[in-house]
């Protein structure tokens, strides 16, 4: 047990460091791309000018200066601050600073977007929106994983049945992304049947009581979560059922049957267990596309999360928010990979027992 934990710990630590480095490179790339047209420089300059203007106009010492004098003062101070911030340094040097700011999400103020509490700090805005995205996609991912897992297991037992063939036939429908099904769900359940809301997180005006709010949020969750499920569930079931079928034709399963173990026992220990690592890998890829799909999905459903924030930032050209959202999506992807890698390691005996021969 001790060695297992130690191996797991070492594996986790190493993966964590490697992933952090990867995120770092990713953020650096983002910064470079964002600033190739000088967008980040512009955003920073604008912020400096805004701050300086505020300082100058609010300083009692300058109250009776004429307007032209004040403008000149603002210009001079902005120039000095720009030099202090190192904006005239070569890009390589600046990009390091930008990356540091981006990694810690200290991207200053947004240009026009505000958080619910009225804050203009990029970090506040991002953290404000994070929970609703986590709620939406977390629910969808959990539901997808367990529904598809149990359904796949169920079908692998009823291989060749009508239900099984129906799922095979439906698997190609996963070619369309979630937002696409979202449009149809909105069309059917909101526009035609008028039974579920068009979008948003809660009703407006929001219900006064906590249970009322929860019910309202759940009602608003149904369509977007349904859209995510429709966009991924059939191909997942199909793929995972195939994994199950492959592993259930292994020799050791035959041996277990011959030994007279109950089918429940066989399923749990000899089929589910070895199949989980490939299923996790397949799920990882789905989850990664799902995080990215959030941008359109939330926009379509008007869900106040990171995705619709990103859309709003693109619409208004709010560079600090754009960079910040890309970074936070990078974190989310890395966290997903890390979590699933950890589960993978915990399940894979090769990693658990001897780290040296780990996943290659």
């Amino acid at each position: 047990m001790g060695t297992i934990l130690k191996n797991l710990g070492r594996f986790t630590l190493l993966r964590g460091v490697a992933l952090f480095l990867t995120v770092l490179i990713g953020v650096y790339l983002t910064v470079v791309i964002a600033n190739m047209g000088g967008a980040m420089d512009e955003a920073l300059k604008m912020q400096i000018r805004l701050e300086v203007t505020q300082q100058v106009y609010q300083n009692p010492a300058y109250f009776n200066l004429p307007q032209t004098e004040l403008q000149r003062l603002v210009n001079d101070l902005t120039q000095t601050r720009v030099r202090e911030e190192g904006l005239d340094k070569p890009f390589l040097e600046r990009s390091v600073g930008y990356t540091r700011n981006a990694i810690t999400l200290s991207l200053g103020r947004s240009e026009s977007i505000m958080s619910d509490t009225g804050s203009r700090l990029v970090r506040n805005i991002l953290l404000d929106r994070l929970p609703s995205t986590l709620l939406l996609l977390g629910t969808a991912q959990m539901l997808l994983f367990f529904l598809a897992l149990f359904w796949a297991l169920f079908l692998s037992r009823r291989y060749g049945s009508f239900l099984d063939r129906a799922v095979i036939a439906l698997a190609p429908t996963s070619a369309a992304p979630a937002w696409f099904y979202g449009l149809f769900l909105i069309l059917i359940f909101a526009a035609l049947l008028k039974v579920l809301p068009w979008g948003g997180l809660v009703e407006s005006p929001p219900p006064q009581t906590t249970p009322g709010t929860i019910v309202s949020i759940l009602r608003h969750l149904i369509l977007p979560v349904g859209a995510v499920l429709m966009g991924a569930i059939f191909s997942s079931i199909y793929n995972w059922r195939t994994f199950f079928l492959m592993y259930s034709s292994e020799d050791y399963v035959e041996l277990a049957k011959a030994k007279g173990l109950s089918s429940r026992e066989i399923e749990r220990r000899y089929i589910l267990r070895p199949t989980l690592p490939p299923i996790l890998t397949s799920f990882l890829l789905i989850v990664i596309t799902m995080w990215m799909g959030a941008i359109v999905l939330e926009t379509v459903f008007n869900w106040p999360g990171l995705g619709s924030l990103y859309y709003a930032a693109i619409q208004t050209g709010d560079t600090p928010i754009i960079v910040g959202t890309v970074v936070i999506f990078g974190y989310l992807l890395a966290a997903t990979v890390f979590l699933l890698d950890f589960l993978y390691a915990a399940l894979d005996p090769r990693v658990r027992l001897s780290f040296g021969g780990g996943r290659s």
């Binding site: 990215m292 379509v300 693109i314």
Partner: protein
């Protein structure tokens, strides 16, 4: 060839191939019938391009599903009218233009407009308009209304004065069976109508072009949007663009990954290690977010986007799938034989290793195409579609932006969506079947 014969055994493959074939034929026909520049011009619209199309009208086949005969757009030219002139002295003449029409539909038109063009020294003329109805009533539409001589318009349906007199929007009131009922209960009166336009003009001058347009509720095979554009242009042009974008992106992304996986596996060691790290980096890179950022900051042109999509997918997640395949193939005796006769590394990779894994590439390649077709639509839905071209995604975006769903214009969103879905399904069906043909282990499952 053997593969084709084998594929025929799978109904889903046949279905997929036929769908793809139909779309390829439609694309070719479209590109020939509406050339690229013409497509862009039509989609840009502007004055004179779609003036005589109804706004936000459903497709014409819509009334196959309703019991009513829905009104279509009626355009009448000066040639269809009877014009009489009579001298009244002072070098002036009385001009009378009569448009006769039969209104056979069960619904009201959407709009009613008259267009004028002529040569007048006065740059405008005062005209009077009278509307003769089948029940014998004559409604004075307007008297002495001044009409510009060059590109003059009289939007009757927006005439507020007439609206007040009729107690209903003019395009309804003029055609209503009974004017005293509520607008929601009004029924159109079928029969022969006549529009009489009268005015005095100097001899030798006048309007050489007068058009009367009664905009219908259905228009064209694809319906129209908020700019009166015939959606069929977009629906047709969406096919070649979607196919080209999907296929080129898939070729660029999958083939590069495939070749790199072959090289990485063959050389192994540091090359393989760094390639795998790059794949991992690519996995964590928020692909769509970065793509959107680039489209926003630099250029939303579809060809630029295509290049970036390929560049960001060189080390796609398929690297690991291909690598697993190559690791097995690398150990096969014939590769050893090639080494023994002194083949160089690149020769081995390109002539022996890569062809061996082609059966894995093909299904993956076909299966990834819909992803890219939908990717283009995704960008368009976010408002980052190509600014000039008509694509399915852009039509969905327009439909969303101009609240087609709130206003019940479902065709606007549903038609491009169905086409997107059909193309996606075509490739997915073929891909799944190819997967079964080439991976015998899957075949019996």
């Amino acid at each position: 060839m053997r593969t084709l014969r084998e594929l025929r055994r799978y109904p889903s493959a046949v279905l997929g191939l036929s769908i793809i074939g139909i779309f390829i034929i439609v694309s070719i026909v479209t590109v020939i019938a509406i050339p690229y520049d013409e497509g862009i011009r039509l989609w840009r619209g502007g004055p004179g391009v779609w003036d005589y199309n109804a706004r936000r009208a459903a497709p014409v086949w819509f009334d196959w599903f309703t019991r009513d005969r829905l009104p279509r757009t009626m355009v009448m030219y000066l040639d269809d009218a009877t014009m009489t002139k009579g001298l009244i002295g002072d070098g002036m003449e009385q001009v009378e233009i009569m448009f006769d029409l039969e209104y056979p539909y069960d619904g009201f038109p959407k709009e009613f407009t008259l267009f004028f063009n002529g040569n007048l020294t006065a740059s405008q003329a005062n005209l009077s308009f009278y509307w003769w109805r089948p029940d014998g009533q004559v409604i004075t539409v307007a008297q002495n209304r001044s009409i510009r001589a060059v590109r003059g318009r009289y939007p009757i349906s927006q005439d507020m004065d007439l609206r007040d007199r009729l107690g209903a929007p003019p395009h309804m009131g003029l055609f209503a069976e009974d004017l005293d009922v509520n607008t929601s209960e009004m029924k159109p009166l079928k029969g022969d109508y006549r529009m009489v336009i009268e005015g005095e003009m100097p001899v030798g001058e006048g309007f050489h072009q007068v058009e009367m347009v009664i905009y219908g509720q259905v228009e064209g095979w694809g319906g129209t949007d908020h700019l009166r554009r015939d959606l069929i242009v977009g629906l047709l042009w969406g096919a070649p663009i979607g196919l080209i974008f999907g296929v080129l992106a898939a070729v660029g992304a999958q083939v590069s990954t495939f070749v790199l996986a072959g090289i990485g596996t063959w050389f192994g060691g540091k090359v393989d290690f760094s390639f795998r790290r790059l794949t991992e980096l690519n996995m964590i890179l928020p692909f769509l977010a970065i793509l959107i950022m680039i489209a926003h900051l630099y250029s939303p042109s579809i060809w630029v986007i295509l290049g970036i999509v390929i560049a960001l997918n060189v080390f796609s997640a398929s690297y690991l799938t291909y690598r697993a395949m190559f690791l097995q193939a690398k150990e096969l005796p014939y590769i050893e034989a090639a080494q023994a006769y002194g083949a160089g590394s690149f020769r081995i990779v390109f002539t022996y290793l890569l062809p061996r894994a082609l059966p894995i590439l093909l299904p993956q390649f076909v299966l990834i195409i819909p992803t890219f077709v939908f990717l283009e639509a995704t960008l368009a839905v976010l408002g980052l579609g190509d600014p000039q071209l008509a694509t399915w995604g852009k039509m969905i975006n327009d439909a969303r932006q101009y609240s087609a769903m709130y206003m019940g214009q479902y065709y606007w969103m549903v038609l491009p969506s169905i086409l997107l879905m059909t193309v996606g399904l075509g490739f997915a069906l073929l891909g799944f079947s190819l997967d079964r043909v080439f991976n015998p282990r899957l075949r019996e499952l």
